[in-house]
């Protein structure tokens, strides 16, 4: 049996994260903007009684213009065991545990700048999904430094 992954889309690209890295999927979170922060940092929100920062994944990956990013998508709540945070995506396709891992897939050009976050992809019925390394993302300096001056 393969590992279950949450399949989603953001910035025109298909991604997947391990279901263990996701605590819950939120819909219509009430965001509170924070000044002097990067544009991809959407603000703070309360989910299940916990204050969490919400990041626009497509903006962070610099896919915003290509995907036509909006604020109407869903938010993937990161499991507390991995870190505190939430990723705003365009569409959550579902949970798939039947996708096949593809190791030698070529990373799309749009993702080349963040190639350290993607190591393999999954081939599912909905297409090719690049698996995002959530712990590395949360620990990266650029992701943590949300201030404008930085």
């Amino acid at each position: 049996m393969s590992q279950a992954h949450v399949m989603f889309r953001a910035g025109g690209q298909s991604f997947a994260v391990a279901s263990s890295n996701v605590q819950a999927i939120h819909d219509e979170l009430s965001l509170q903007s924070v000044g002097d922060t990067k544009k991809w940092f959407l603000g703070l929100a309360v989910a299940d009684g916990v204050l969490i920062p919400v990041t626009d994944l497509a903006g962070y990956l610099k896919l915003g213009q290509a995907s036509g990013r909006t604020f109407s998508g869903r938010t993937l709540g990161i499991s507390p065991e991995v870190g505190v945070g939430a990723l705003r995506v365009d569409e959550v396709i579902g949970v798939d545990d039947t996708a096949t891992k593809v190791s030698d897939a070529v990373l799309p050009q749009a993702l080349q700048a963040n190639s350290n976050l993607f190591s393999y992809s999954l081939e599912a019925s909905t297409g090719e999904h690049w698996v995002l390394d959530v712990p590395r993302l949360l620990q990266s300096k650029r992701f943590i430094d949300i201030g404008v001056s930085a």
């Binding site: 949450v6 263990s20 999927i25 579902g94 949970v95």
Partner: protein, 630 residues
């Protein structure tokens, strides 16, 4: 034998007594009886002339006058000449560019003339010919015939027609069909009566002179007897102074009387104490009377000649004027006939217009009923449209509600989907090893169900939106239809009111047209009666023209007779007025003819006046007055 013996004895006795006379006595007794017999002959001739005129002018005699007869051959010749004129007119009209129809009229006139030539008493042919001639006159009046020659010839034809018709009418009236035609009419009798009046005034004088001349002749016979009783003048023993004086007196008397044989009325016998004094006095008296008589005859004849000439000219002018008047009256009658026909047509058109007005009233009534029905239908349609509008509003509201509920369902489906995803994620986390449990499969089914529900609700919302849009459009359309129905309803009401107004107007129009039709019909009758009256007047005028022509002809005859009378007395020589100024009888001889001529002229005018009046009355069918022949 006895007669021859008596004649022989008388001859012997006359010869014996004649031989007893002297030479002068023989001359006297040879001339005197001749002169007296000549005088008596002249008087008898004058009396005979008066008697002839009286016989001609007598109302009891026939109106036939051999000097004024119209021979049938003359009538036929005049008809032929008239036909020749019509043929000339036809050739002219045929040569014209716009007078072909008038040429046909002239051809018809020729046909009528042929019928007239066969039977001149055919009044219908005469009337038809006159009508065709009137058509040509109307063509001249309408400028259809413009050439002066044709116009003048048409006028001449009318004048000739009046004369020809009058001549033939006189022929028919005298009852001499195909025989000698008497031209004199009432007018000529009136003129003859005037001549009779003048000449009858001379008759008493002539009759008085006759006994005088007879007495003179008897005196001469007695003197001849006395002279023959005496011894012959050749017997010297019987010659005395007295007998010589008497002989001289007789010779002088004979010398003085001798010019009378040549018609010299200037003779004057010497009245003396001799035995011939009384005879000379009687002779002078007789010559004076004869002088007066001849002077009166000359003066009266001259006056009659002059008056008759003037009257004849006036009669000719009146005849021409009557002809023109008859033609104008006939033309006016034709116009009146045309007017009557036109008015009859107007009446018929008015009646047709009245019928159309009635139809218009009926159509307006039916239109009013139809529009009323349409108004009711529009009211029903408007009510149905209002109900449809309300239903559409409800449909829009219902579609809005459906859309709202669909959104709720879609939100539920979305939450369900989210719940299923989280459940799956929890289930995956619970297994730890990454294997899916029953919960995760249930979650997947719920997710699929939520997806199906989301799709269904999305389709429902889409359909609800379409329904809402269609209902909104339908509602707008229905509202627009309602407004148009309201406008149509108002227009239908206005149309109904207009039709009712049209109905009322058509009804009034019908009444007015009926009034016009009845009045036009009455006017047409009046015009017809007027045309008939004009026809009567035309007949009177034509008769007057013919009568005036006859009067002019008779006056010409009268003038000829006056000239003949002058000629008959031209042989008499009258003394000069200056020489006879001292003589009282000469003054009388000047005044008497003037008075007589004035009296004759006055009587002629009165007779012509009475004749006109009698003809006018005769045209209306009245009986002529009994004084007409007086």
């Amino acid at each position: 034998m006895n007669v021859s013996r008596v004649v022989s004895q008388l001859t012997s006795t006359f010869t014996t007594r004649w031989q007893r006379l002297s030479r002068h006595q023989r001359i006297a007794f040879a001339i005197l009886p001749i002169v007296l017999l000549l005088s008596i002959g002249v008087l008898l001739k004058l009396l005979s002339s008066n008697g002839t005129i009286a016989q001609q002018a007598s109302p009891t005699n026939s109106v036939v006058n051999n000097d004024n007869v119209v021979e049938p051959e003359s009538v036929q010749q005049r008809i032929a000449e008239h036909s020749s004129s019509v043929m000339t007119l036809q050739r002219w009209l045929l040569s014209g560019r716009n007078s072909k129809e008038e040429a046909g009229i002239s051809l018809t006139m020729l046909q009528h003339l042929q019928a007239i030539a066969v039977d001149p008493s055919n009044d219908l042919a005469w009337q038809d010919y006159s009508d065709e001639l009137s058509r040509l006159e109307n063509a001249v009046e309408k400028q259809a015939i413009t050439t002066p020659e044709a116009t003048a010839l048409i006028a001449t034809l009318r004048y000739d027609y009046a004369q020809l018709r009058g001549s033939v009418a006189g022929m028919v009236d005298s009852g001499q069909d195909g025989g000698v035609v008497a031209a004199p009419t009432i007018t000529s009798r009136g003129a003859d009566n005037q001549a009779l009046a003048k000449r009858s005034s001379l008759t008493p004088w002539l009759l008085a002179l006759l006994p005088l001349l007879a007495s003179a002749l008897a005196t001469v016979a007695w003197l001849f007897y006395q002279a023959s009783q005496q011894p012959s003048l050749e017997q010297p023993m019987l010659r005395t102074v007295d007998s010589r004086a008497n002989q001289n007196a007789i010779l002088q008397l004979l010398d003085e009387m001798e010019p009378l044989a040549d018609g010299d009325l200037r003779v004057q016998a010497t009245v003396s104490e001799a035995m011939t004094g009384a005879l000379a006095d009687a002779f002078n008296y007789a010559v004076t009377e004869l002088r007066w008589l001849v002077g009166a005859i000359k003066g009266s004849a001259a006056q009659v000649n002059e008056s008759v000439g003037k009257t004849r000219d006036s009669a000719n002018s009146l005849a021409q004027a009557s002809g023109v008047q008859a033609r104008e009256i006939h033309r006016s009658s034709n116009y009146l006939n045309v007017m009557s026909d036109t008015m009859a047509q107007l009446s018929a058109h008015a009646a047709e217009s009245s019928r159309i007005a009635v139809d218009s009233v009926e159509q307006a009534q039916q239109g009013t009923l139809a529009i009323d029905a349409s108004v009711k239908g529009l009211v029903n349609i408007r009510e149905q449209a209002h109900m449809t509008s309300r239903l559409m509003e409800r449909l829009v509201e219902s579609s809005d509600a459906i859309k709202k509920h669909a959104n709720d369902i879609q939100r539920v489906a979305k939450n369900t989907d989210l719940l299923a995803l989280n459940t799956t994620i929890r289930a995956a986390a619970a297994t730890g090893g990454g294997e899916t449990s029953e919960l995760s499969r249930l979650s997947a089914e719920v997710t699929q169900l939520a997806s199906t529900l989301r799709i269904a609700t999305r389709d429902i919302a889409h359909l609800a939106g379409i329904i809402h849009q269609d209902a909104a459009l339908t509602l707008s359309s229905v509202k627009k239809t309602n407004s148009e129905l309201d406008a149509g309803h108002q227009k239908a009401i206005l149309a109904s009111q207009s039709l009712k107004a049209i109905e009322a107007v058509s009804h009034d129009l019908q009444n007015q047209i009926n009034d016009i039709a009845s009045k036009t019909l009455r006017q047409a009758g009046v015009v017809r009666q007027l045309s008939a009256n004009m026809g009567v007047i035309n007949g009177i005028t034509r008769d007057s023209a013919v009568g005036l022509q006859d009067a002019a002809s008779d006056l010409e005859d009268l003038q000829l007779m006056a000239n003949a009378l002058l000629t008959s007395v031209a042989g008499f020589s009258l003394p000069d007025t200056d020489n006879d100024a001292a003589d009282g009888d000469a003054n009388d001889s000047v005044e008497m003819p003037t008075s007589a001529s004035a009296l004759v002229a006055k009587k002629i005018k009165a007779a012509v006046k009475v004749d006109h009046r009698s003809q006018e009355l005769a045209g209306f069918g009245d009986e002529p007055p009994t004084s007409r022949n007086e």
